[in-house]
Symmetry: C2
Subunit: 274 residues, 2 copies
């Protein structure tokens, strides 16, 4: 297999990263993809940096067996705390959701006040703040952990009065701070975009890391000369191959996964990473 | 060490089982205890039976190193799906929270209509229904998964309008069914007792498995002649030894754990079960 024909590997703690895969499929329809959801260990968002890094290394090792040409860490928590460890441990092109989201936020903000919402571990890690300030040190960032958003999305309470109240509770302090840009720092959150936008008002731009990450994947593959060649610029004659792996079969995986991916997931392979 | 001086082992997926430990300490103050929270793998409530059983076996092996005289499975999900596997694999006295809660519900109900709330895996397993019907086949049971209760408790939104709305959303169907008894089938739920009672009304008795389990532990130790002898019936001259182990240090463990246990947790030992 030539270099460029090799698949892209993507991992997340569960199904949230499917929002990133969805964008990769949209932007790079000719690429073969392998998606690993480490559902036996989810969620990552409340666990320690050490534990999340251990899981991230296991996930990467598993995907490397398939000769992937690039790895996408499609989980904000794993990107926040384990990307540098992965860079040390493995020598393959790596894209994390945090860097892409941070760059987009810097481009978008006009008043230099950026809000970041995510899991507790992501927000505490200050990873977005570090990335943003590395580009423009004068930007103010305000973080807010929203631990109920993931279970609300997984419960499917998307357009819902209770969800609206919870979004208001978490986001009112950010609104009062006068931010003009809000990073959705968790792959589940794009599903709550409408309610979040309603609460924040039209003056605040929401940054969806999923799309930014897919653009970054395309840029990196182009730079490396690794875009699947015979399909470049065309819709593939034969549909690109997609495989889905999970370390546990959580309840309602297919129902929820299809909602995240925006299309039906046909086959999910169960693997054991210990 | 004589048989009766050996400690009691208790495991849960996280901190919820501390409500069971609290009752064991209250009812059996002279017993040494070892508590293991498998926080690297929490929550169990959304994972498959196979995965939960694998974790339960790992937890039990770890506690057996300390020569425990009895094991309490202080997690409803693990009790629901892995107790029989543990009984096959290990030959030590085992107490699960489900059997204790089921027995109490059968004693309490007058109209024979019992509601059961818990995680998705617990409710889907029908473990409470099986146990209840094994005692009295004519009792009707109605299960309701309440996946948002655990994150609400962990967020600390206990006396809260949003929590009240969510409790109403989940429990109104059970109220309409005319149950007179409601099993709190998850160790986190006793912290929401007040709100749950308010929604269900005073005609419904809440069954808190934690207390029932502690009574069952006492009965089993008495039957086996394994109550710590020199302390029986007296407050211990020297405080009983308590050790706490976790497989990951989740954020806010001490704050949350102390709320569950009702007293300060001083030392938590981090272990690695892979």
């Amino acid at each position: 297999m030539t270099n460029a024909k090799r698949p892209i590997g993507i991992f997340d703690s569960g199904i949230g990263g499917l929002t990133v895969l969805k964008e990769i499929i949209r932007i790079l329809p000719g690429e073969d993809t392998l998606y690993l959801g480490d559902t036996a260990h989810l969620p990552y968002g409340t666990k320690s940096e050490e534990t999340v890094t251990k899981y991230s290394i296991q996930n990467t090792r598993f995907l490397l067996q398939f000769n992937i040409k690039l790895l996408v860490v499609a989980c904000n928590t794993a990107s926040a705390v384990s990307l540098s460890a992965l860079r040390k441990e493995f020598s393959l092109p790596l894209v994390g959701v945090i860097e892409a989201g941070a760059r987009a936020a810097v481009k978008v903000t006009k008043n230099g006040k950026v809000g970041i919402i995510g899991t507790e571990t992501t927000v505490r890690s200050s990873a977005y703040t570090r990335e943003i300030k590395a580009i423009r040190a004068d930007i103010d960032t305000i973080g807010q952990a929203c631990p109920l958003f993931v279970p609300l999305v997984e419960e499917g309470w998307i357009q819902d009065d209770i969800t609206l109240s919870i979004v208001e509770r978490y986001l009112t302090p950010l609104k009062k701070e006068g931010i003009d840009t809000l990073v959705l720092g968790c792959t589940h959150y794009p599903l709550l975009k409408k309610t979040i936008q309603q609460v924040m008002g039209s003056g605040v731009t929401l940054i969806d890391s999923a799309e930014e990450t897919a653009l970054e994947v395309k840029a990196m593959l182009t730079q490396l000369g690794l875009i699947a060649p015979e399909r470049e610029g065309n819709l593939p004659a034969v549909a690109a191959a997609r495989r889905f792996f999970v370390t546990d079969v959580p309840l309602r995986f297919e129902e929820q996964g299809s909602r995240f991916l925006g299309e039906k997931i046909s086959t999910v392979e169960r693997i054991d990473l210990g």
